[in-house]
Point group: C2
Chain length 456, copies 2
C-alpha cells in the first residue's frame, strides 16, 4: 500500500505512541495499516484541523469524510438530539427518512428518483452490482485499471488497486483511463476510451460471461484523478448501454460537492446533453462520518430488483444516520460550501502551479507535473527529474512514486496531511474537508514549497 507505516522504518517514535502501536498490533492485527513513515496520533479535530495528544496542530488536506468539518457542531447537535428521541429501522414508518430521500433525489436528474440506503460505500457498490447482474442476467463488470470500489467480496474483486494479493476474476475486465499526463485530453481521447470499453465488452463476451455493467468513480480517484476530457464517461456509458449493460457512477469520493458541483458525473455531459447514469452510488461524506450510504436509481430498476428480492439493511437509513445526513446537506447549502470548494481549490491549484514554475525555473530535481482537479479535489504527479512536463505524448514524463512518498512524508513532518495514489503511487491526493479555507490553503502552499525546495 502506498504510504503505509512499516514498523521500525521511521524516526524514533514517542514512547507512548510506540506502546500504543504495540497494543494495537496485538489486538487489531495484520489487516490494519497506519499511514506515514511516522504514524500520526490524533485526539481531537476541528474544521480542517486535527490535534495530537500534546496539542500538535495538523492541517488536514486529506480527509473527505468530515467534509463539513471535523467535530462539526451542527452534525453533533442533530445526532445527539435524534439519539435522545428515536433510532430504529425502516420497517416502521418514520418521517425523517422519507423527507431526506425526497431532498436527496431532488438533486438528481430524472429518472433517478428513488434511493435505497445502506451504511458504507462498499455496501452500496455491492448492491448496485447485484441490481446490474439481476437486470442483465449476466455477470461481467468493467472497471478502470487501478479502480477502488470497496471491501466486500463483490466490491474487492472490482478493485485492482488493492494490489496483487487481491485476485481479479474472469468476470471483471480492466480498461485504462484516458491519461492527461500523456497528453490524452482532446475529444479523440474520449473516443479512444470508448473503443477500449468496446473491446472490454467483446472480451467479456469471448470469456462467456457477458456484460452486466461498468462502474467508474466519476473522478477516477484511484487511477490518479482524471477529469479530462469532459464527456469521456458519457461516451463510455453509451457503449455500455448499447451492449445492454448498466452504467454505474461511483460518487462515493466525488459526490456531495467535492468537485465544485453536487456530483462528479454531471461534468461529463456534452454537446448540451445531460449525462445520466443508470445507478449512482453515494457514501463517505454523506453523514460526515456517521455511517450512511446510498444507491440512487430509477423506479424501473428498483421495481425489477425489489419485486424479486427485498433489501433490508438494519442500520441503513436509520433515524440517526438520516439526522446526520440532513445536517450535512444543511451545512453544504447554508454555508455555500460548494462554491467555497471551487474557490479554495482554484487557489490551491494556482499556488501549486507557481511552485511548479519556480522549480522549473530553478532547474531543481523534483518535478511536479500536471497540477489538476476541480473544487477541493486536487492532484499533481511527481515525475522523474529532467523530464519534459508539458505533457506532450512524445515525451511522456516518467511517474516517480518514491518522490511522491517523499513529499507526503515531508508534508507530514510539517504537520500537513495528504497521501498518494495512482498506478505508480506518484499522484499526490489533496482532498481536504470542504471547510478548508484560504488561510489553510496558504499554510498548505507554504509547507509544500518548503518540501519541494528541500527535495529539489
Amino acid at each position: 500500500m502506498v504510504n503505509a507505516y512499516a514498523p521500525g522504518s521511521g524516526s524514533a517514535l514517542d514512547p507512548a505512541d510506540e506502546a500504543l502501536i504495540a497494543r494495537r498490533t496485538a489486538v487489531l492485527g495484520s489487516p490494519y495499516r497506519l499511514f506515514y513513515r511516522d504514524p500520526v496520533h490524533v485526539v481531537r479535530g476541528s474544521g480542517a484541523h486535527l490535534f495530537g495528544p500534546n496539542g500538535e496542530d495538523y492541517l488536514d488536506a486529506y480527509n473527505n469524510v468530515p467534509s463539513v468539518g471535523h467535530a462539526n457542531p451542527a452534525v453533533q447537535a442533530a445526532v445527539a438530539a435524534q439519539l435522545g428521541e428515536l433510532n430504529t429501522h425502516t420497517r416502521y414508518l418514520t418521517d425523517g427518512v422519507v423527507e431526506y430521500a425526497e431532498r436527496l433525489t431532488a438533486k438528481f436528474p430524472s429518472p433517478l428518483d428513488q434511493v435505497v440506503f445502506a451504511c458504507t460505500g462498499s455496501e452500496a457498490v455491492d448492491l448496485a452490482l447485484r441490481i446490474a447482474r439481476r437486470h442483465t442476467g449476466r455477470e461481467g463488470i468493467i472497471v478502470t485499471r487501478n479502480a477502488y470500489h470497496g471491501t466486500t467480496a463483490a466490491a474487492a474483486e472490482i478493485s485492482p488497486s488493492l494490489g496483487p494479493g487481491n485476485p481479479i476474476p474472469d468476470r471483471v475486465v480492466l480498461v485504462d483511463a484516458p491519461d492527461p499526463l500523456r497528453g490524452e485530453t482532446d475529444p479523440a481521447a474520449a473516443e479512444d476510451f470508448a473503443a477500449r470499453v468496446r473491446d472490454a465488452i467483446a472480451e467479456l463476451e469471448r470469456r462467456g460471461v457477458g456484460l452486466a455493467g461498468m462502474i467508474v468513480d466519476s473522478a477516477l480517484t484511484s487511477d490518479g484523478l482524471w477529469l479530462e476530457p469532459a464527456g469521456f464517461l458519457a461516451r463510455a456509458a453509451a457503449e455500455v448501454r448499447a451492449a445492454g449493460g448498466l452504467y454505474i457512477a461511483d460518487e462515493v469520493q466525488p459526490g456531495f460537492g467535492r468537485l465544485g458541483d453536487w456530483w462528479g458525473f454531471t461534468r461529463h455531459g456534452f454537446a448540451d446533453q445531460e449525462f445520466v447514469p443508470d445507478l449512482v452510488v453515494l457514501g463517505k461524506p454523506m453523514g460526515n462520518g456517521i455511517p450512511i450510504s446510498a444507491v440512487v436509481g430509477s423506479a424501473d430498476l428498483f421495481d425489477e430488483f425489489g419485486g424479486d428480492v427485498r433489501y433490508f439493511n438494519t442500520f441503513g437509513g436509520n433515524p440517526v444516520s438520516i439526522a446526520a445526513a440532513s445536517a450535512v446537506l444543511d451545512e453544504i447549502e447554508g454555508r455555500g460550501l460548494i462554491a467555497h470548494a471551487s474557490a479554495v481549490g482554484d487557489r490551491l491549484r494556482a499556488g501549486l502551479r507557481e511552485i511548479q514554475a519556480d522549480a522549473e525555473r530553478a532547474g531543481s530535481g523534483a518535478g511536479l507535473a500536471a497540477v489538476r482537479g476541480a473544487g477541493l479535489f486536487v492532484a499533481a504527479d511527481l515525475v522523474a527529474p529532467g523530464a519534459d512536463h508539458t505533457g506532450a505524448p512524445a515525451s511522456a514524463p516518467a511517474p516517480d512514486g518514491d518522490a511522491a512518498l517523499a513529499v507526503v512524508n515531508g508534508l507530514r513532518e510539517r504537520r500537513i496531511l495528504v497521501s498518494a495514489s495512482g498506478r505508480a503511487g506518484s499522484t499526490l491526493k489533496i482532498r481536504p474537508p470542504l471547510v478548508f479555507d484560504d488561510r489553510d490553503a496558504d499554510r498548505f502552499l507554504d509547507g509544500f514549497a518548503e518540501v519541494m525546495r528541500e527535495l529539489g
Copy 2:
C-alpha cells in the same frame, strides 16, 4: 416476507400515515417493506417502549438492536461527546479503538484474540467468508436450511430465508437444523446433524467446489430459534474442521447477552470441553443502533489474510462507533443486563407455558407449541388445531404460519410488537431490548393471553 405490509390489505389507515406511506413508496420504492397488516408509525422511544405521533405507547418485544434501551442516555452522551472531539479512521493512531478491542477480545476464549471492525453484520459475514475462502483456497459454504446472514452479494447467496427470488448458487449447500418441534432434542439429534454436515461436505466435493467453511447463527434464529440439543454446533464444527474448513459462528443476533450469556456458541460446549469457533461475527446490538460490527478471530487467520490483502473499512471502528460500543458494554455490565435477561426471559417462558396449558385445557383451536429460548430470546410455534403438541416424533405438529401471523397482528392491535420467522413462518420471534422488565413481561403476557383467547 413474513409479516410484510401489503397496501390496501389492512384497516383504514390514519390519513396522515396513508399520505406518508404514499410519499415513502414514491421515493424509497420496491426493495423496502413495512411490518404488519397496519404499519406502525413511531416518533420516539424509551427503554423497551416506542411511541407513535399521538403518544401511543408500543411495547417493543421485538427489537434486538437497541439492546440497552431505546434512546439510551449513556449511549447518547458517549456519542455526543465523541462527536464533539474526533471522528476519524483507523489509519491514524487513536486510543479508543485499541482499548475497546482489548476489552472485547477479553470476552472470547483463546485463540480468538484479534478483531477487525466493520459497520454491519453483512459486512462482517462477507469478510469472514473472504477469510475462509482464502484460507482454504476453496469456495463451498454450508448453511442451515432457512438461514439469514445478510445483504451483500456474498451474504445474500448464503441466506435462503430471503426466499425463492434470491438464488442459492452451487457453491452453497443447505442442511436441516435439528428440530426440537419434531422431538429432535437428544444427543442422537446432534449426531444426525453432524451426519447431514458430512453429507453436505461430500456434496460440495462432488460439485467440484470443495469446502471453505460452515457458518451458523448460534441461535438458529431464522430457522426458528433452536438451542437444543446442546453441543450440536460443536459436533458439526468438528466435521467441518476434519474436512479442512473453518467454522464461523454468526453471533449478530445471539451475541452481547441476548441468550443470558455473552455469546451463543458457548452453550454448545460439551463434556467439559469449551467450544471455540474459528471466526465469530458480531453486529446488531453492538452499538445500540450506531453502525458497528466485527469479526473476531485468531492472529494466525488474520495474518494469513492481512498479509496478502489489507482490509480498510472507512467507518469501521471509527471513534464514534467505538464510543457507542463502549457505552453498550458499560451498560450491559453496569446494569447486570445479562442476568436480568435470563430472569425476565424465564418469566416470559413460564407465562407462555401457562397460556399454552390454559388453551389446551380449554380445548381451544389455536395451538401454541414448543415454548423455548434462553435469556430474552423467546420463541413458540403456532401449530394446526388438534395436533399433539408434546413433540413426539410420531405425531409432529403441523406448523401454522397463518395462525402465527394472526397472533403477530393481534398483538400489534394491542400495541405489542413481535414478528414471526421459521420456514413456515409459524415461529413467534420474541426478542425485546435487554432492558425489558417484569412489568413489560406482564403486559406482554396479558396481551398475549387475550389474543390467544380471541383466536381460540
